[in-house]
Symmetry: C2
């Protein structure tokens, strides 16, 4: 987690390295837990208590737009974010909504005709089921 590396990757994307933006990026790189925006805001505020909710959202949006961070939408819950380090797929728990990494592997593209006039950018796989925490006790919701 080299501070200079983070700074360089922000600047490489044309983003200024502000303390707030740096904090968001650093938190995501040290944390492969796929936090929500609210969780990131809270964590970042424990270090520097002067940062606003709007800024966290702004920065997450900028980072996603710059391709440094990935956003994962989860049905009926807040979106989750992760630093785009090593490529990986995702596992989303049906019960608790947590997002976990699944080792990357290449997925075959569909029959070429199927994508016709669309421009394909990426292709992700989402596995669903119960995470290790939720699996033992199928009970309650």
């Amino acid at each position: 987690m080299d501070a200079e590396a983070i700074k360089r990757s922000l600047e490489g994307s044309g983003l200024r390295c502000t303390p707030q933006r740096y904090a968001v990026m650093a938190f995501l790189m040290e944390n492969n837990s796929h936090p929500t925006a609210a969780e990131i805001f809270e964590a970042v505020n424990q270090v520097d208590p002067r940062s606003s909710r709007a800024t966290t959202y702004n920065n997450l949006r900028d980072l996603v737009k710059a391709g440094l961070v990935r956003e994962v939408a989860v049905e009926g819950r807040a979106a989750r974010f992760d630093a785009k380090g090593m490529r990986h797929h995702h596992f989303i728990c049906d019960r608790c909504g947590n997002v976990e990494d699944i080792e990357w592997y290449d997925v075959p593209r569909p029959a070429s005709g199927s994508l016709d006039k669309r421009i394909l950018r990426e292709c992700e796989v989402i596995f669903r089921g119960l995470c290790a925490k939720c699996a033992p006790r199928h009970a309650s919701r």
Copy 2:
């Protein structure tokens, strides 16, 4: 679009076949356009103007829980729904957020160790890029 077939599939899932619930299910089966809850509510209300927003949400939730309908979360936008007829994957447009079907094909599971204590239920592929409508004009957002 056999009315009886819809009735039977609802009852087969232990759901009563109420006019409102039937309308939602029928609309989704006649429509592979992946509408949002708001669009479904509006469409259903044009047929029978007496149905409420809450009921539409309730029924969508019940149908998803029963496994008759699939919910697709889209980053920064309302969720979209489709009847689980033929299996298919999804294409989500980066620009307009529309969801389209991609012909189904089987995706290889990851290395077995990778899923360890989790219980895998399903595995979906999401393609991303620009849809046919948005592709020509990369411009604006």
